[in-house]
């Protein structure tokens, strides 16, 4: 009964969304106040309906109602509760419903927070959001309905891909979707601005925080995915340039560019057409990601069960929204008025270069991801593109971006004088060179490790230096503290995020340059030594979990300062889906991770295949990404970015 109610609420949400799209649009055309105002109400109702519909699906999963086809296919009564709930979005149909839930949530949030925005603008934004909701809800109802019942109910569920049974992955899709779908808000704002034909201060003030929100969620979502890959796939890697990973990385790159270009648009009233274009592109990348993951045009481990008819529908959505958005842009953008002129050497100039680099980076990833399709179409030969391509192309692109990132905040707006900052650049350069050289000489590192470390230190030194100059380092301590406290939070946000980037770079560099891999057979009781760490294979036991059983090895770890730890890597077997998985055991530390994977035993003897990875500083990768996200949140909490703030004045 409850599942039918959910189905009904979703159908109702579709019709409400049609009103949310039509009424305000007609209201703007005929200048009807009531019709324009209705958008906020329909947006809110639509959210409530989708929310109830989503809850009904969650209920079906929690109660293991195997008469529902989706639950029978993807769940199992023995699954732990949290994975039953995360199972809701662990499949194509359910994840689309989550997508729509987040979309309507954002629409409702825009409706409530945007009460004081110009009526015409907010009406058009909500109308556009309504149209996106119509498209996606009908996609669910007509091609991917999660509420279908089985004619002959199953007694037990078929289980769930066990490799996905992980806490990091359980919360990864909601974060990722909050990011993806958050970009729909900036998209709708751009469409509204193009329709009105005016990009003013209010518009920019609104787009900036929404971009930040989407960017923060996207950042955290990608980090969670990569953290899962590291802990679960059992190979100690954290990024594989897989098409689906790239699908989340492209919107992130576009959003990062958008974040920076909207600063220029806000502060200097210029680059407006470009900002609008980026907003359209960023959301298009979200749609493209959806297309790649669900249509099966590219092969990936992550892909959902693919279905060409779904692929065609998403392709049509992509043509409609992106094509429509870009056509509108082509028609209207030349008439947008642009203000503030600036010299190439200025903060604006540096941010423009940042934008060019990030846009090229997104294009590079796009090209690499889609290259197999292009080549197949052009000369019918088959290729696949792997990390060698991405590493060769992406890293050189990012080097100038990092170099620029350290000193562009020191440049002044409009026109900077190179003499004013040249001393600072030299000081930062020497400092970074010195630190990187010391580490390389002491640890016998390679040239590429040197480059990575140099870039990391360059960015840290540059950011700190800029921060202290801004606060005024030469003043007395009391004034210094006072000025530091008075600094806007967005300034802290920028510095924290940039230092996060630096820490990320250091983590990536050190963990790959000084990583130690050992793969060998080990006999029960044998001891092996990795980098002053003694690892002893103590025992192996059979254990049973909620929906699996496993061989669990016990390893005693004695570190160089005689601390004793135990690690328990497992080989699990999930009877429901007849799948074996390896659960690596990881000893995480600030300065290094020890990662142990237990392999199969050789002919049932006491000899097991063992893989040990020693990765120094690898946790810095996620710590750096987390700092970037924290920087985003700090910036978002800045008074002047608070939604709705100051609207009366402008």
């Amino acid at each position: 009964m409850i599942i039918e109610l959910g189905h009904f609420f979703l159908a109702l949400a579709l019709s409400i969304s049609i009103f949310q799209f039509l009424l305000p649009a007609l209201g703007v055309k005929f200048n009807s106040y009531g019709m324009m105002r209705s958008a906020s109400i329909t947006a809110f109702i639509s959210f409530i309906l989708v929310f109830l519909s989503f809850l009904s699906l969650v209920y079906a999963y929690i109660t293991s109602d195997f008469s529902v086809s989706l639950v029978a296919k993807n769940s199992h009564s023995l699954k732990p509760l949290i994975y039953k709930i995360s199972g809701v979005w662990g499949n194509h149909e359910g994840s689309l419903l989550l997508w729509v839930l987040i979309l309507t949530f954002y629409s409702a949030a825009v409706a409530i927070l945007g009460r004081r925005l110009p009526l015409k603008l907010i009406s058009l934004v909500l109308s556009c959001q309504g149209l996106i909701a119509v498209a996606f809800i009908s996609f669910i109802l007509f091609t991917s309905n999660p509420f279908i019942r089985l004619f002959f109910p199953n007694i037990e569920g078929e289980g769930f891909n066990p490799i996905l049974q992980d806490f990091g992955l359980a919360i990864h899709p909601p974060f990722l979707y909050l990011g993806y779908v958050g970009l729909s808000v900036t998209f709708s704002f751009s469409i509204a601005a193009l329709l009105i034909g005016k990009v003013d201060t209010i518009w920019v003030k609104w787009v900036r925080p929404w971009t930040l929100i989407a960017w923060v969620f996207l950042t955290v979502g990608i980090a969670l995915g990569s953290w899962w890959a590291y802990r679960e796939l059992g190979w100690g890697g954290w990024w594989f340039w897989d098409p689906v990973e790239n699908a989340s990385f492209m919107p992130w790159l576009a959003a990062t560019a958008l974040l920076h270009s909207s600063i220029v648009a806000e502060k200097r009233d210029t680059l407006k057409a470009w900002t609008i274009l980026l907003a359209i592109i960023a959301f298009s990348f979200s749609l493209l990601g959806t297309f790649i993951v669900r249509s099966g045009v590219l092969i990936s481990v992550h892909s959902f069960a693919s279905d060409p008819s779904r692929g065609l529908y998403i392709l049509l959505l992509l043509i409609f929204f992106t094509g429509g958005g870009l056509a509108l842009f082509a028609k209207k953008a030349p008439y947008l008025k642009s203000g503030g002129l600036f010299k190439p050497l200025s903060r604006e100039g540096a941010l423009v270069i940042n934008n060019i680099i990030f846009a090229s980076a997104a294009a590079t990833v796009l090209l690499g991801t889609l290259y197999p399709i292009f080549i197949d179409a052009i000369n019918n030969s088959k290729v696949s593109v792997g990390p060698p391509y991405f590493e060769a192309v992406f890293i050189p692109l990012m080097v100038p971006a990092i170099l620029l990132c350290a000193f562009s905040p020191m440049l002044s707006w409009k026109r900077a004088v190179i003499e004013n900052i040249i001393e600072r650049i030299i000081a930062v350069f020497i400092c970074a060179l010195f630190l990187a050289s010391i580490i390389i000489i002491m640890n016998d590192g390679s040239a590429s490790a040197f480059l990575g470390l140099f870039l990391g230190f360059w960015l840290i030194c540059g950011t700190l230096y800029e921060f202290f100059i801004k606060v005024g380092i030469k003043l007395s301590f009391k004034i210094f503290i006072q000025r530091a406290l008075n600094l806007p939070r967005s300034a802290y946000g920028m510095s924290v995020a940039h230092i996060g980037v630096a820490i990320f770079i250091i983590g990536v560099t050190v963990s790959s340059a000084w990583r130690i891999d050992i793969e060998k057979p080990i006999i029960l009781g044998e001891k092996t030594i990795v980098k002053d760490i003694e690892i002893t294979f103590k025992s192996i036991k059979r254990v049973t979990g909620p929906n699996w059983n496993a061989d669990r090895g016990e390893f005693e770890i004695i570190t160089s300062n005689r601390d004793k730890h135990f690690l328990y890597p497992e080989r699990r077997f999930y009877p429901a889906s007849q799948v074996n998985t390896s659960e690596p055991a990881i000893m995480s530390g600030i300065f290094s991770d020890l990662y142990i994977v237990l392999g199969e035993s050789r002919d049932n003897s006491d000899s097991y295949a063992l893989r040990i990875y020693y990765s120094p500083f690898i946790s810095w990768i996620w710590f750096g990404i987390l700092l970037m996200a924290i920087g985003g949140v700090l910036s978002l909490s800045d008074r002047k970015h608070r939604l709705g703030y100051d609207l009366k004045r402008v």
């Binding site: 082509a330 028609k331 889609l370 179409a377 088959k382």
Partner: protein, 182 residues
């Protein structure tokens, strides 16, 4: 002129769409591409040796006593890592001969993957630039070919072999080929 520039994004986008549409409509599912080589001899390809492993050459496939698998893999390919376990099970539990073609890989990385205990391959050949695999029509890694005992290609599997594929596709086909012989 400025007005024309603003049409560039739209044009680029529609070119992209053409490629997608082609991929979606012509080739409905890339993992089910029929191999042009189906029922034909495994093509003459020349591969290089990987470390101390036995070199895979096409002559291995001719006049063999049993059918075998040829698996194209790379250390940088994630699906291959997931597939690895099933290859291990097929080679150890089912005694199936599996030959590996290491595709566009770095030698050190490939060797790392093939720790002595974890090597499902009877012999391995290296295709450094991927040019040899083009003769096979390789679309991406991983791909697996089933070769009968006369050296003819009988089946082509695109994408990783997982539990389902192993039980319902690969093993039954191998079984069928074995029975033909008797």
């Amino acid at each position: 002129m400025k007005k024309l520039y603003s049409y560039i994004p739209l044009i680029v986008f529609f070119v992209l769409i053409l490629f997608f549409a082609r991929q979606l409509i012509l080739k409905e599912d890339p993992s089910e591409l029929p191999s042009v080589l189906l029922e034909e001899r495994f093509p003459e390809i020349i591969l290089k040796k990987l470390g101390g492993y036995k070199l895979f050459s096409v002559t291995n496939l001719m006049n063999a006593n049993s059918p075998s698998l040829v698996n194209i893999w790379s250390s940088w390919c994630v699906p291959c890592k997931i597939e690895h376990e099933f290859l291990m099970r097929m080679s150890s539990d089912h005694n199936i001969l599996i030959y590996g073609i290491n595709y566009k890989d770095k030698k050190e990385d490939a060797l790392k993957v093939l720790d002595l205990n974890d090597n499902p391959f009877y012999a391995i050949g290296v295709d450094l630039d991927g040019l040899q695999s083009i003769n096979l029509g390789v679309y991406g890694v991983p791909e697996t070919f089933i070769i009968d005992s006369d050296g003819n290609i009988r089946y082509r599997h695109v994408g990783p072999i997982l539990e389902y594929d192993m039980q319902n596709i690969i093993l039954p086909i191998l079984d069928k080929i074995m029975r033909e012989k008797i």
